[in-house]
């Protein structure tokens, strides 16, 4: 702070005070996503008589925690210019370890949860370390981890759905006003992710790495540890997702989360996070999660056929990204 030269002729008037964070563009960003969300709700509300009810939204709220926390992790991964395809498998593996620890080893709920979280983190650390230190694209390493973790899930459970029962469901049982602790926990994680990205040195480093890693290196910042940490965080949040899912079903399914990586990436991309790295927002990803959840739930409520669901989901993903592209172009033009 005291480093700056003070003897410069400071004749030029200082620019006006810095604009309040998070700035104008952030507001328009969320406004756009919010508008899309409202439009979808109105549409489904018109098509289905029970969509616009408290019960309906309570249901959605209790379904999204896993997707929401994983989207937080994926936002970070995409921001550093990486990708993690293994999240669905890591979820299944962590859930499997948890169920085995509780049911077969009789370790109790707390130890089971702890082991699940450690499992997820170790998977993430593996992907991150291999990819970052050997400079192999995370796409490839996480593809390998996708297979390994899935195999681990089958091995741990003996390919059987493992019933846990007991008090594991406390995490996801409706609580105050029909909202589960899991949903509140997910909201807290989303907020923490948002703060981590926008208000901390760590978050700033991640954005810098995703924007221009070489510039970060030349600025004297060691870029490897934060990148590995991001993958560990992703693994940890996949395990939290597993916790939510296992608790809700009271059972660990080794086939859980197949294809989930695509839903997570879709949610994050709908939120406007760039696959090229450097640009993204945790809150916007959460809106992406809401859009996907509302779409899924709405289509199920109007009883759309499987092919129709897929076609409409695909259209919404592409549409969201196209609109976001136009929006950001318009924003950069108006500035």
């Amino acid at each position: 702070m005291d480093a700056a030269p003070s003897s410069f002729p400071s004749s030029s008037p200082s620019p006006q005070p810095a604009a309040p964070r998070p700035g104008r563009s952030a507001l328009t960003r969320y406004a756009g996503l919010l508008a899309a969300l409202v439009a979808m709700c109105v549409l489904f509300g018109a098509l289905s008589e029970h969509f616009l009810t408290a019960a309906s939204f309570r249901t959605i709220a209790n379904q999204i925690p896993a997707l929401a926390v994983m989207a937080v992790g994926m936002t970070f991964v995409l921001i550093i210019g990486g990708i993690d395809l293994s999240v669905g498998s890591v979820l299944a593996f962590s859930g499997a370890v948890m169920s085995v620890a509780i049911v077969q080893w009789d370790l109790g709920l707390a130890a089971g949860i702890g082991l699940a979280l450690v499992t997820g983190m170790v998977c993430g650390a593996f992907t991150g370390t291999i990819s970052v230190s050997l400079r192999i694209p995370s796409f490839i390493v996480s593809l390998g981890m996708l297979e390994m973790a899935r195999g681990g899930a089958y091995t741990a459970t003996g390919s059987r759905t493992e019933y846990i029962g007991g008090n594991v469901s406390l995490i996801t049982d409706p609580w105050v006003a029909g909202i589960s602790p899991a949903f509140l926990l997910a909201l807290i994680i989303v907020m923490m992710g948002h703060v981590l990205l926008n208000r901390t040195v760590f978050g700033r480093h991640l954005i810098g790495i995703g924007t221009n890693e070489e510039a970060m290196r030349l600025a004297g910042i060691d870029t490897h540890p934060p990148k590995i940490l991001v993958f560990m965080l992703m693994g940890l949040l996949s395990a939290v997702g597993a916790l939510f899912q296992v608790a809700r079903m009271e059972a660990a399914d080794p086939n859980a989360g197949v294809g989930m990586e695509l839903s997570v990436i879709a949610a994050v991309v709908i939120g406007g996070t760039s696959l090229m790295g450097g640009r993204g927002s945790v809150l916007a990803s959460f809106f992406g999660v809401l859009i996907i959840a509302v779409l899924e739930s709405g289509l199920a409520q109007i009883g759309a056929s499987e092919p129709t669901k897929r076609i409409i989901t695909g259209i919404v993903i592409i549409l969201a990204v196209v609109l976001d592209m136009y929006r950001s172009r318009a924003a950069s033009r108006s500035s």
């Binding site: 700056a4 400071s10 200082s14 620019p15 030349l218």
Partner: protein
């Protein structure tokens, strides 16, 4: 030099304009005759590139019209322009590195026999073109990626010469060429002119412009500030016309005191690029490094900055051994690097000025890992004021700034970090003349405050203007050092060539 011609111009521009979010080019009317070299001069953002891109078919004009030999000309694409004989060599290389020279030259018209690439025919066609740009002794099979950047530029130019060419646009063709290659390029331009080809030449090197061009068209803020015969203009006139005012008078290199030794470099060697280099940098000193391309200056900087490790050699910084194993350690020790490639390696372009300024010293504006946005904004605002960075505010993305102001942002980063040693590689490359002097003044001011700097530049006059001492490197060795007042251009150049004359002639570029 050509007399004003009364015949029909090859190309006539009438009231040409281009508007993106604001106007970048307005009301440009200009005639270009066959066999004429017209230089386009102007600061960055003056509209030179936009104008040439419109003529070359890469963008369309928002206003005005163009005529070629009296017929309306409105190319929809680069291909369409090429069909009319208008060819363009772009500033950025657009070659495909894994393909060979010959394949790159005829990318759009690759000859084939029975569906297979006809290599023989391709090479027969490539050879004369390569000879025209001085690449006669290269194998047409050589992948372009294996060539030096200057040679790649020559391939790019050769590609502009394929097929029918009546009007050739060269956008900063000499920016990356060695003197020898530049001379070859000028020969080539003379030949084309003799053949009646009209040439639009865009360059920052004003002496070059004056030597080569028949007429000089000067653009300022998107408008034509004047078109004059090159013979009638001095370099100073061109600059004044470009900037719209006098520059340079304000710069005063004096008033500096050089202190004791700060960085002592002894016997630095690495591979063939750097061999047994020793020198001492003093407190408050600006030390220049001159040399030809390939003399090992950037490689030496990488050693000083810990990006590479030396094979041999020691360094002492502020009395302590200095052996950086990574840029991080160099920065921690107080040595900062300001790269030549500002956009590619220096800045986080889409991010705000404040984020770029505080990047290397985030801890100082953070509490327990949380960034104090107020402190960050304050720091940025202070440096914006101190360095007179022209911007809206600290939240403006760096990408929206001009080259000179971007460079100031990089400088601000290291001022905030308070690094006593700054390594500057080509600190004014791509920066407008007017802004250049501001940078010079800034560097001089910093040295008065006790900062030490090592400056690499291919512009000898820049070094002579700025530095207290100039070290000359040649073929990886230190070929001489000259103090201010004891140097002249000829002796520096002689030193720069000395290593090449002794060692070998196989050095290609």
């Amino acid at each position: 030099m050509t007399e004003p011609q009364t015949s029909m111009p090859l190309l006539r521009l009438e009231g040409l304009g281009k508007t993106y979010s604001g106007p970048v080019l307005a009301d440009v009317s200009l005639d270009l005759h066959a066999g004429e070299v017209l230089a386009l001069a102007g600061e960055n953002g003056a509209g030179k590139s936009t104008l040439s891109r419109i003529v070359g078919g890469l963008t369309s004009a928002s206003a005005g019209s163009m005529l070629i030999e009296g017929r309306p000309y409105r190319p929809a694409s680069r291909r369409a322009a090429e069909r009319q004989g208008v060819r363009m060599v772009l500033q950025e290389l657009s070659l495909i590195p894994p393909l060979s020279i010959a394949e790159n030259l005829f990318l759009d018209t690759l000859p084939s026999r029975y569906g297979l690439l006809d290599r023989g025919g391709l090479h027969r066609r490539a050879q004369p073109l390569m000879a025209r740009v001085g690449l006669a002794d290269m194998d047409p099979e050589t992948p372009v990626g294996d060539l030096g950047i200057g040679q790649q530029q020559m391939v790019e130019i050769a590609r502009g010469l394929t097929g029918d060419c009546r009007l050739l646009i060269l956008d900063e063709p000499s920016a990356m060429l060695t003197d020898r290659e530049t001379a070859l390029l000028f020969d080539q331009i003379e030949q084309l002119r003799a053949l009646g080809v009209a040439i639009v030449y865009i360059s920052h090197r004003l002496d070059e412009v004056k030597r080569l061009a028949d007429r000089i068209a000067i653009l300022r803020d998107g408008r034509l500030a004047g078109v004059q015969s090159a013979a009638a203009m001095q370099v100073e006139d061109i600059v004044r016309s470009m900037v719209g005012r006098d520059v340079g008078a304000a710069f005063d290199p004096g008033g500096r005191t050089i202190g004791d030794a700060l960085l002592d470099v002894r016997g630095m060697s690495r591979g063939r690029a750097v061999h047994d280099v020793s020198f001492t940098l003093h407190r408050g000193e600006i030390l220049g490094f001159a040399g030809l391309v390939g003399s090992g200056r950037p490689e030496l900087m990488r050693l000083l900055f810990g990006a590479d490790r030396p094979a041999r050699g020691d360094m002492v910084l502020e009395g302590r051994p200095y052996r950086p194993r990574s840029p991080r350690e160099a920065v921690a020790a107080g040595v900062a690097m300001i790269t030549e490639d500002r956009k590619g390696l220096g800045l986080l372009l889409p991010l705000a000025i404040s984020a770029n300024v505080t990047l290397a010293s985030l801890r100082t504006v953070a509490n327990g890992g949380f960034i104090d946005h107020r402190a960050e904004a304050d720091a940025a605002r202070r440096l914006i004021g101190d360095l007179r960075i022209r911007c809206r505010d600290g939240d403006q993305p760096v990408a929206e700034l001009s080259g000179g102001n971007q460079q100031k942002v990089v400088l601000a980063r290291w001022l905030l970090r308070d690094c006593p040693v700054l390594l500057l590689d080509e600190p004014t490359r791509g920066i407008d003349i007017g802004a250049r002097y501001e940078i010079y003044a800034l560097l001089a001011e910093l040295s008065r405050q006790g900062k030490s700097m090592i400056v690499i530049s291919s512009d000898l006059r820049e070094l002579m203007l700025l530095c207290d001492r100039i070290c000359v490197m040649s073929a990886g060795r230190l070929a001489g050092a000259f103090k201010r007042g004891a140097w002249d251009q000829d002796s520096i150049l002689a030193a720069a060539f000395s290593g090449h004359l002794q060692s070998s002639s196989q050095e290609q570029a």
